[in-house]
């Protein structure tokens, strides 16, 4: 049951309203029923009490009237006859007349002071002895006395009585007898009788049956005011009459509840449907939206109440969700793009940084190496100069000595001497000596020359002997260099030239030519067999660009970072010094330019020289004299190329 009602808001509303209606109706019905029953009971009791009061008042009035009458009768002149014991029967006649005239229910008796019955309203049976008087009738005093319910021995019935002393009219304060007026109990009950209720007298000290008990409703009067002080009138009647009315009301209430419940239930049903329809629609739409993830859908706003506001809010939320989703997607895309570009940038920057670091390291390396090399070259320069300078003399002197020895052999001498000479010559293996010494001298001379050249190169690399700084055509320098190297290319290397600069550049032409020499010479060396070399010049802003591209074997990637290092060479010892590119690097750096190399193994290498058209301000424009006189720029510096 609870589950059934808790499954939908409409049912909950229905259940709530039914509960509220039932509770309200039941409480109201209960309240009305109880109030009605109480008020009916109270009003019944009140009515009965009033009836009882009326009856009591009637009794009191009756006794009051009788008392007035009795007082008047007691004052009649004829009462004087009490003294004479009513010998003339005047009193008896009068009492009979009074009873007849007043229609008295009881009797009136006249007694003398001794308590002897003098006269009565009904003639007594003369044969029967008069019965003893009720003790209560004997009263003292002068006032009227009400005698409560007692057994009337004279009337032989239950009665109440009024006793009035009779005073002598002829003299003061003489009591001559009394008048007693009886009121039979049966007459009293007859007086009380009522067709609607059962009326009875109850004593005030007695405890009457609790009101409403025994299936009767009871109303109690106040005690009598003058006579019936010890009595109350109890009026009762069957409760069934009152209960009948209450039952009728209860039935009507039940019917009313049933009749009311029909329109209320209908209204509640309608209201619950009406209330929950937008909610159901909204739920359906929300389910649709969440099911399909289509945030473009909108809930129809059908009312202006809270549900309408809810629908509007939901629409706004959906719109904002849609917007947020779009923005999120856009952000994601942008983020991805940014990410990618960032990666690219990072990669680029890393590359740049690497390059810059490499450049920097290279530059630092070159600087320190330059200092080292400059020191070494300086220290080696003088000794090698001696050696180199002495070798021609040594060759000359050795020749002269050998010629002298030959001449000495030709000098006529004793056989013995001659033999001795021959023996010595043979012993010394002069022929061999002659041949060998010249070889040695040549060899030494070559070595000295090479050492000299190396020193020169080192100097050139480190300090770079300065020549004249002037404007010169790079193309001219290239052509000169090519002319020098022509014999090494002839017949196997096709040369392509693409000169586009055609503009003089301020530089040290000799040094720049040395760079050309190194680069082109390396290019030629890298080509085993046939190949091609492309040389191009062009201008890029304030820079003159020279590219030398060969179709040689290329440089292995692991060597690319080292090719500008001094003494880095892949050639056999003696074939290259490993200084060519280092020197070239230094030269270009000094000119405010740079050398870049791109190489792909097996496809070739491209050197790119970038040289400012005008020298940077920091550049020394005048040549620095060499520490040692060397021949300016060697036309054909032994190339320290790398194996390319």
């Amino acid at each position: 049951m609870i589950q059934f009602f808790s499954r939908s808001i409409a049912r909950k509303i229905l259940a709530s309203f039914i509960g509220i209606y039932a509770t309200t109706y039941l409480l109201t019905a209960l309240f009305v029923f109880t109030s009605l029953r109480n008020s009916i009971g109270v009003s019944e009791v009140k009515t009965l009490s009033q009836l009882a009061d009326v009856k009591m008042e009637r009794l009191e009035n009756a006794f009051g009237d009788l008392a007035i009458d009795l007082r008047a009768w007691a004052e009649l002149d004829v009462m004087t006859d009490l003294v004479s014991e009513d010998v003339d029967k005047r009193i008896a006649r009068m009492l009979e007349g009074l009873k007849r005239q007043y229609g008295l229910k009881g009797e009136v008796y006249a007694f003398d002071t001794a308590g002897k019955l003098v006269a009565s309203s009904t003639p007594p049976n003369p044969d029967a002895a008069p019965p003893p008087l009720p003790a209560a009738w004997k009263v003292d005093g002068k006032g009227l006395v009400f005698v409560d319910k007692h057994w009337d021995t004279l009337g032989s019935n239950e009665a109440m009585a009024l006793v009035m002393p009779v005073m002598a009219s002829f003299t003061g304060n003489l009591r001559i007898g009394s008048l007693t007026l009886t009121y039979p109990w049966s007459a009293l009950e007859h007086l009380l009788a009522d067709e609607d209720a059962l009326i009875e007298l109850v004593r005030t000290d007695s405890d009457p049956a609790p009101l409403g008990d025994n299936g009767r409703v009871a109303g109690l009067s106040k005690p009598g005011g003058s006579f019936l002080k010890a009595w109350k009138v109890l009026a009762t009647h069957e409760t069934s009459a009152a209960v009948q009315a209450v039952r009728q009301v209860a039935n009507q209430l039940l019917l009313l509840g049933l009749f009311l419940s029909i329109p209320i239930l209908a209204a509640v049903l309608w209201l619950s449907r009406k209330l929950t329809r937008p909610v159901v629609e909204l739920t359906g739409f929300v389910g649709l939206i969440t099911g399909t993830d289509d945030l473009g859908k909108r809930v129809p706003v059908s009312s202006v109440d809270e549900l309408g506001t809810l629908a509007q809010s939901f629409n706004r939320m959906a719109a904002s969700l849609e917007r947020a989703g779009g923005e999120r997607e856009r952000f994601v895309r942008e983020l991805e793009a940014l990410n990618q570009s960032l990666e690219a940038k990072v990669a680029a920057r890393t590359l740049e940084l690497k390059a810059s670091q490499a450049e920097r390291a290279q530059s630092d390396k070159m600087a320190s190496l330059g200092q080292l090399v400059a020191g070494v070259a300086h220290e080696l320069n003088n000794p090698i100069a001696f050696i180199y300078a002495n070798f021609p003399h040594l060759e000359e002197y050795t020749g002269e000595l050998l010629a002298l020895i030959e001449k000495l052999r030709q000098v006529p001498a004793d056989e013995a001497v001659r033999r001795r000479f021959d023996e010595l010559i043979a012993e010394a293996d002069l022929d061999f000596l002659q041949k060998d010494i010249l070889k040695i001298i040549h060899s030494g001379k070559d070595g000295a020359t090479r050492v000299k050249d190396i020193v020169l190169s080192l100097r050139s690399f480190s300090r770079l002997d300065e020549a004249e700084f002037k404007k010169t055509s790079l193309e001219l320098g290239i052509d000169d260099t090519l002319a020098l190297l022509h014999h090494r290319m002839r017949g196997r290397i096709i040369l392509e030239k693409d000169y586009r600069l055609n503009q003089p550049v301020s530089c040290f032409p000799g040094q720049i030519n040395q760079v050309f020499m190194n680069i082109i010479s390396n290019a030629i060396q890298s080509i085993k067999g046939t190949g091609s070399i492309k040389i191009a010049t062009r201008r890029e802003g304030a820079l003159a660009i020279v590219t030398v591209a060969d179709s040689g074997g290329g440089i292995p990637p692991e060597n690319l970072g080292k090719i500008f290092d001094p003494f880095f060479t892949t050639k056999k010892v003696g074939e290259g010094t490993g200084l060519g590119l280092s020197i070239s690097y230094g030269i270009m750096e000094k000119h405010g330019g740079r050398i870049d190399v791109q190489s792909r193994l097996g496809e070739g290498t491209t050197f790119e020289l970038r040289l400012p058209l005008e020298p940077p301000a920091a550049m020394p424009l005048s040549g620095v004299p060499a520490a040692m006189p060397l021949s300016g720029v060697p036309a054909a510096l032994p190339l320290s190329g790398v194996t390319t």
Binding site: G97, Q101, T171
Partner: protein, 144 residues
């Protein structure tokens, strides 16, 4: 008021019934309650009593005069012999005295009743015909 009217009517009926009694002229006895000390009363003293001029006996006790009913021949005789006035004059006189606060004589309608009354009531004085035996009363006078 109605009650009183009714009572008067009843009394009227009572009186009507008494007219039949005959009234022969004979002597009457003046009697008093035995408690009265006086041995004899003169007609003058009796008259003073009935005309409410003497209200008390010599010992100070109250005198209660008793009269017969207005139609009684004895009373007529008593009026003539002692009071020397007509019934009408006496009625007017007693009415006047009643207004002055002095009660007129008590009425008894027979000698038996008169006797019984005189016998019972101390200080009472009345009269009866001579033919009636004056039991237990004191005779203080005689009217021939």
């Amino acid at each position: 008021m109605i009650v009183k009217g009714s009572i008067l009517a009843v009394l009227g009926l009572g009186f009507c019934a008494l007219f039949s009694e005959s009234a022969d002229a004979e002597g009457m006895l003046i009697i008093v309650n035995p408690s009265v000390e006086a041995a004899a009363l003169s007609p003058r003293e009796i008259s003073a009593i009935y005309l409410l001029k003497t209200m008390a006996w010599a010992d100070g006790s109250r005198i209660i005069p008793v009269n017969r009913e207005a139609t009684s021949p004895l009373r007529e005789e008593f009026n003539g012999a002692i009071l020397h006035q007509t019934n009408e004059a006496l009625a007017a006189y007693w009415n006047e005295m009643h207004f002055k606060g002095r009660l007129p004589p008590v009425i008894q309608e027979s000698d038996r009743a008169m006797l019984a009354f005189i016998r019972k009531v101390p200080g009472a004085i009345g009269y009866i015909s001579e033919s009636t035996e004056p039991m237990d009363v004191k005779i203080v006078g005689r009217v021939p």
